[in-house]
């Protein structure tokens, strides 16, 4: 009865019948109170977004898997210390029994959220070294600014590592297959359940199976419940991080193909699975946890998402084409997604079904045959596996390199790297969002707009990066597009901070700063670890001149992500306005340190240095800004201004003449030229330029200034006349 119930619970979970699963699991646990069943119950709760229930159920449990699930539940509830204590004792044992990389990753997240950056980095690095395909860990490292080159992390070493593990375990599987010959011929029929089940397992915590294999032998004969417990991880259905949805296009589990039953059906299964996942994501209106996610979920979601994004890129083609294409992709790449114990799992799954279904003797001969064919196919596939692994890692390398460049604001390099991707991969939401962000940082708003709108066409449900898109539209003053974007985003997901950021930008554009601020605060409420919402709140506060609150907002943003250079910039601007120039300099320098490629930051740093009377350094900085971005007129203007103060009037004039050619309607150029000519005592030229400056409708203050300057011009004229 226990086996039956456990199996049924698993099935319900896979079919997303959560209430069914929870109820039955509770009955199961009541009848057979074992820790393994408790884990299953916890998984049901985590699946149903009840981390508190899972927390209470697993509190105090000592089995490695229980501790892992407990830590997952704690992180969902932001209980960092408890999560850490659950994961820490015998961390190494954790690495063996459960999923080593995932544990390290979770520890990394905990440390990062409790401000222990260095140890956080170490944990992420360990996670990556245990499992080179753990993209999430690499991503976190990039965000913290501590990532090594992608070529190192996703290099040949990684390829060999993964290949060895993969093939090594596969051969052990073969031995087991040979000796036991328990492969159920039900693989030929009853495929529905089976393919679903092992798909589930596959898309479950794949990596965990790596370690599971070490104990593969004894586990084989365990009860179904235990196997499924140890194989699969819970919460496959948790709303994955938006980042995941754009992750690399990893092919659906090719293992199925390896084992050679109904390929088509299985691929179909995987795509329907993926689609179901997709639909579920859309339905889930839960407030998203920030960056924490169970690695297994991530991986599963990643695979599903990969399939989904893959499907979406081929949206117009019909399903048959999709399948064919997906099978082709299978053959080419990504066997590595399966990783070690896939075979192991499959084996166990077969056993599970075989123990629950009755297998007859006639079937046995069929089994023998199938085993042999499988062995043969396996051997021929191992070379494909190797190439698949190296292809995957190469893909990850390109993506990682691009991501790292973008995180360190080397936007042009990031763009170049992303160009190396195949067009299939490039035309996905995630990559195009990244491209858009790169253009945004380069102040190339047209291209950014183009990239983002393409991203929206391809994956309209993907909200990651859409906050940046709304800012682009705001800066381009594209009112209609901005409003439309905000509407769309809110209709897709009312609880996404990005949607509220877009709305805030809308209101800000219409000068309704109070409401804009409220919207940004809403985004903060939804996800307090979303730094951009804090930064935008800060910007709004500055506009309404509430500098106290602005400083607080920026500091909150920096608390979440110390590499958010816009917040450093914001603080610098406030201090500059309040004439606290040394503070301003410090903050602009920090911003410059993080993003040394932004001409705007350099310009402000130069301005601050000039205010501190460090003119040479200021000039150097302005030169750098001019060199970095030739299209930025401000450093040139500022340089001209500085030259005027230093008395180098002719050089200043040269620069201003150039600027005048490019920007003939900029009043301040003429005003400054007027000043220079006045100093040169060329009064008529000065008068001319002041006149033009006035015609170009400057602000009231400047009108007053210029008119005053004109007034002073006339006096010397009169004096000359009188002489």
């Amino acid at each position: 009865m226990e086996a039956l119930l456990a199996n049924y619970v698993e099935k319900s979970l896979k079919q997303y019948m959560r209430r069914n699963a929870i109820f039955l699991c509770e009955r199961l646990y009541a009848e057979f109170p074992s820790e393994v069943n408790l884990q299953l119950l916890a998984r049901c709760y985590l699946n149903n977004n009840q981390p508190h229930s899972a927390y209470h159920v697993l509190k105090g449990m000592q089995m490695a898997q229980s501790r892992y699930l407990f830590a997952v539940a704690c992180l969902e509830m932001d209980l960092f210390s408890e999560a850490e204590t659950a994961l820490l004792p015998i961390e190494e044992l954790c690495a063996h029994v459960t999923n080593g990389a995932a544990v390290q990753y979770l520890l990394g997240i905990i440390h990062r959220d409790t401000n222990r950056m260095k140890s956080s980095v170490e944990h992420f690095r360990k996670a990556l070294s245990i499992d080179p395909l753990f993209w999430a860990a690499y991503e976190e490292l990039c965000i913290l600014g501590e990532a090594e080159e992608a070529a190192v992390c996703f290099g040949d070493v990684a390829i060999h590592y993964v290949q060895e593990h993969y093939l090594g375990n596969a051969s052990s599987y073969l031995q087991i297959a040979n000796s036991d010959q328990s492969l159920d011929s039900s693989q030929a029929f009853g495929l529905e359940d089976l393919s679903l089940s092992h798909l589930q397992q596959m898309e479950g915590n794949n990596i965990r199976n790596i370690c599971l294999n070490n104990h593969g032998g004894p586990n084989l004969t365990g009860p179904v419940g235990q196997i499924t417990n140890s194989c699969c991880n819970s919460s496959f259905f948790r709303t994955p991080s938006p980042v995941l949805t754009q992750l690399s296009d990893m092919a659906p589990p090719p293992l199925i193909r390896n084992i050679r039953f109904c390929q088509n059906e299985v691929s179909l299964r995987s795509s329907t699975q993926a689609r179901r996942e997709f639909v579920r994501e859309n339905e889930s209106a839960q407030i998203r946890g920030s960056l924490f996610f169970d690695s297994g979920r991530r991986r599963s979601a990643r695979l599903a998402a990969a399939q989904r994004s893959f499907n979406s890129t081929q949206g117009s083609e019909n399903k048959a084409n999709n399948l064919r294409a997906s099978i082709k992709l299978n053959s080419g790449t990504c066997y590595s997604t399966v990783c070690k114990g896939q075979f192991q799992n499959l084996e166990e799954a077969f056993r599970a079904t075989s123990s629950s279904l009755s297998s007859s003797a006639d079937v046995k001969s069929v089994q023998d045959e199938t085993v042999n064919t499988q062995l043969r196919s396996f051997i021929s596939n191992s070379s494909k596996i190797k190439s698949g692994i190296s292809d995957t890692i190469n893909l990850l390398r390109i993506l990682g390199e691009g991501y790292r460049h973008l995180c360190e604001y080397r936007c042009q390099e990031a763009l170049n790297v992303y160009q190396k991707l195949s067009s299939k991969q490039y035309n996905t939401g995630w990559v195009l969002s990244q491209v858009g962000k790169a253009y945004f940082e380069l102040v190339d708003y047209l291209n950014a707009d183009y990239a983002f709108s393409l991203a929206r066409q391809i994956s309209p449900y993907n909200l990651e990066g859409m906050d940046v898109y709304s800012t682009v539209l705001y800066l381009m003053k594209e009112d209609m597009k901005l409003k439309y974007l905000a509407q769309e985003l809110i209709s897709i997901d009312r609880f996404a901070p990005q949607a509220w950021c877009a709305i805030g930008n809308c209101y800000s554009f219409q000068k309704d700063h109070e409401t804009a601020l409220k919207s940004f605060q809403r985004a903060v409420q939804l996800n307090s670890r979303f730094p951009y919402a804090h930064t935008l709140s800060g910007h709004e506060n500055v506009i309404i001149e509430d500098y106290g609150n602005a400083v607080e907002c920026y500091q909150k943003a920096l608390h979440v992500d110390a590499r958010h250079y816009k917040s450093w910039y914001g603080l610098g601007m406030i201090y500059l306005r309040q004439e606290k120039i040394e503070f301003a300099e410090h903050h602009f320098r920090q911003a410059y340190r993080i993003n040394p490629f932004s001409s705007v930051i350099m310009y402000y740093l130069g301005t601050t240095l000039e205010a501190l009377k460090r003119s040479e350094e200021a000039l150097v900085m302005m030169e750098k800004a001019i060199v970095t971005d030739n299209k930025n007129p401000l450093p040139k203007y500022s340089k001209a201004n500085m030259l005027v103060t230093l008395g180098r009037l002719n050089e200043a004039l040269e620069i201003l003449e150039e600027l005048k050619e490019c920007y003939p309607r900029e009043s301040s150029i003429y005003a400054l030229m007027g000043e220079i000519y006045k100093q040169h005592k060329k009064y008529d030229k000065s008068m001319l330029h002041f006149g033009i400056a006035l015609d170009l409708k400057p602000s009231i203050v400047d009108v007053a200034k210029i008119q005053a300057a004109i007034g002073k011009l006339i006096l010397p004229d009169e004096i000359e006349d009188n002489l």
């Binding site: 203007y637 602000s699 203050v701 005053a708």
Partner: protein, 192 residues
């Protein structure tokens, strides 16, 4: 002398008032940074009614004329516009008829910069502080004093419903000699 009184008369009659408060985007309200005080008030109708954006309640003075509203800043600010809301239909004899605006460093050296005569004002009254000289677009001062010298129908006390003080927006980019006007310059001037 004669020319002076002529100027005074010319400077001043404002008839009626404006329904809406419309101010240039170039200007921003400076009152939040100032300390407001009045020469006298009736309990319940104090100085806060002048600043609460509520046109229903008003400040009512309770003493001898002239009634004074003092606006003191922590540092010298440029001011360009004073806007008052009054309603003759509601306040009748409490409505001010002659207003003098003075500026200076403090109570000891206030100098009159503007005088106006109001005739049955109902709504927002705009009093520009600019002089004729382009150099005098703004008044750069520590303190502004609005004095109600007399009321309609010779009323003793006065009602004022709202007062706003405007000055120019500072350069969004600090430490630049002139503000930027063209789109390209403005695009590159902020990080968002």
């Amino acid at each position: 002398m004669a020319t002076e009184s002529l100027e005074l008369e010319e400077e001043g009659k404002i008839i009626g008032g404006n329904q809406h408060l419309i101010v240039d985007d170039d200007l921003r309200e400076m009152g939040k940074k100032a300390a407001w005080s009045v020469s006298s008030c009736k309990t319940g109708n104090g100085v806060s009614s002048l600043r609460d954006d509520n046109l229903e309640n008003y400040w009512q003075s309770d003493g001898a004329q002239p009634h004074l509203v003092n606006i003191q800043f922590q540092k010298k600010v440029k001011l360009q516009l004073v806007v008052l809301y009054m309603d003759f239909k509601l306040d009748e004899s409490y409505t001010p008829s002659k207003i003098s605006i003075r500026a200076g460093d403090g109570f000891h050296n206030l100098k009159e910069i503007k005088t106006v005569e109001l005739v049955k004002p109902t709504g927002w009254i705009y009093l520009s502080l600019s002089g004729n000289d382009p150099r005098e677009t703004f008044v750069n001062t520590f303190m502004l004093q609005i004095a109600v010298l007399s009321n309609h129908l010779n009323g003793r006390d006065t009602h004022v419903r709202q007062i706003k003080v405007y000055g120019p927006r500072p350069n969004p980019i600090p430490h630049q000699p002139f503000q930027f006007t063209s789109r390209e310059f403005i695009t590159y001037s902020t990080v968002r």
